[in-house]
Amino acid sequence: MKRSLARAMVLALLLAFSFALDVAPARAANEADYKTAYSAAEAASKEAASLRHQWTVTVSVLAAAKKAADGGDFDRAVAAAREAEALAKASIFQATTEKEAWKAMEIR
């Protein structure tokens, strides 16, 4: 049981780290940057959903990205889309590792 708790800590920690990574891009992001970032995030989120492992935060951050873009704030929109992609990828990773990892906790 202890090991799975440690794994949860690591996952949460790394995710927190990924949020803090919003490094301002060299130049102001424009709509094109946003579109590419958003489509990548959307693809990852769709895959997470197909694995039935989607996270609520992925959905809300993706929506925030869209809202920021609609408001013309492409810097924030790109950052949010990146974050959504990272979250979706983490949930995909969770889905794949758990395919076997769940047995560690099973009562036998």
Binding site: R52, Q94, E98, E106
Partner: protein
């Protein structure tokens, strides 16, 4: 910019793969043995909580904490689910437009049968839960199905649970590979971590029953569905099994599945089967 994010993701997955590989019991696929699983499941809780009477496990958090148990007994003097219970009894007796009633859809008129749900329907090859059977009964009689998370469904299941109070849970797994697969799928769902919190049902209800998450005491997984449906003070209203699954998912920041999704039906099948022998105590009152 792009490069930095992918480096991060690379390191993230590498770290976690390393962790996953070190997990001790990556075991080859073993044969599905529900009887052994149920016995191991029950013994785990009987040994972890030796002074909790076996039938008390169905009282969830109240079997874990004296102060909470007293508050529960205060509520049970005149429980808040009385209204749902009476509404359910009335709905059960009110004929559909075509003159039939729920009693015509269920064995024994729907009275005293809750302990056999969910069951594995060999024609359909899937698990059928009480809530699903009720909606199918409505549709078969030309009525619109009820929402799985709202009061009408909770009132019906409250009445049916009440008529089975005290009867031991009695779930059957027919000798059908699809039934065994459904049981295994339910077990997998129960132990699989999900949501950004990275919790599985077991993280709370197997690893830490009796402990607090803020104001609430975590219920043991054994017999956790025996009291369904429940009136929760948190919702100040009735909650069906579906509503409980959906809200548990969103609490761990996992997007819930559609009501009566296969996974929900299977995890209900798993949790009910391993609680065989423990009494039905629904409808229940919970924090």
């Amino acid at each position: 910019m792009k490069a930095r994010t992918s480096i991060l993701l690379g390191s993230l997955s590498a770290a976690l793969v390393a962790l996953a590989l070190t997990s001790p019991r990556v075991v080859a696929a073993d044969k599905v043995d529900p009887v052994a699983d149920a016995r191991a499941f029950q013994n785990f809780f009987f040994q972890k909580f030796p002074d909790v009477k076996h039938e008390d496990f169905v009282n969830g958090p109240y079997s874990m904490n004296e102060d909470m148990k007293r508050q529960w007994q205060e509520k049970e003097e005149f429980p808040p689910y009385e209204f749902a219970l009476d509404a359910g009894k009335e709905m059960f007796a009110t004929p559909f437009k075509n003159g039939k009633t729920y009693a015509d859809c269920f064995p024994n008129g729907g009275v005293g049968i809750r302990q056999n749900y969910p069951y594995f329907d060999e024609k359909e090859g899937k698990v059928v839960t009480l809530e699903l059977a009720l909606n199918r009964c409505r549709e078969a009689n030309g009525e619109a199905p009820y929402s799985y998370v709202k009061d009408e469904m909770a009132s019906l299941t409250a009445y049916m649970a009440f008529t089975s109070r005290g009867k031991p849970m009695d779930i059957k797994i027919p000798d059908d590979p699809r039934a065994l697969a459904a049981f295994e799928n339910g077990k997998r769902y129960f132990y699989t971590r999900r949501g950004q919190m990275n919790f599985s049902c077991a993280s709370c209800h197997v690893q830490s029953p009796g402990e607090r998450i803020r104001a609430e005491i975590l219920a043991p997984a054994l017999g956790i569905l025996n009291a369904m449906p429940i009136y929760r003070s948190e919702w100040s209203g009735m909650g069906t099994t579906t509503r409980r699954f959906v809200t548990c998912n969103s609490q761990t920041r996992a997007v819930p599945l559609e009501p009566q999704a296969d996974e929900y039906r299977d995890v209900e099948y798993f949790l009910s089967y391993v609680a065989n022998g423990l009494p039905i105590s629904g409808p229940g009152a919970r924090p």
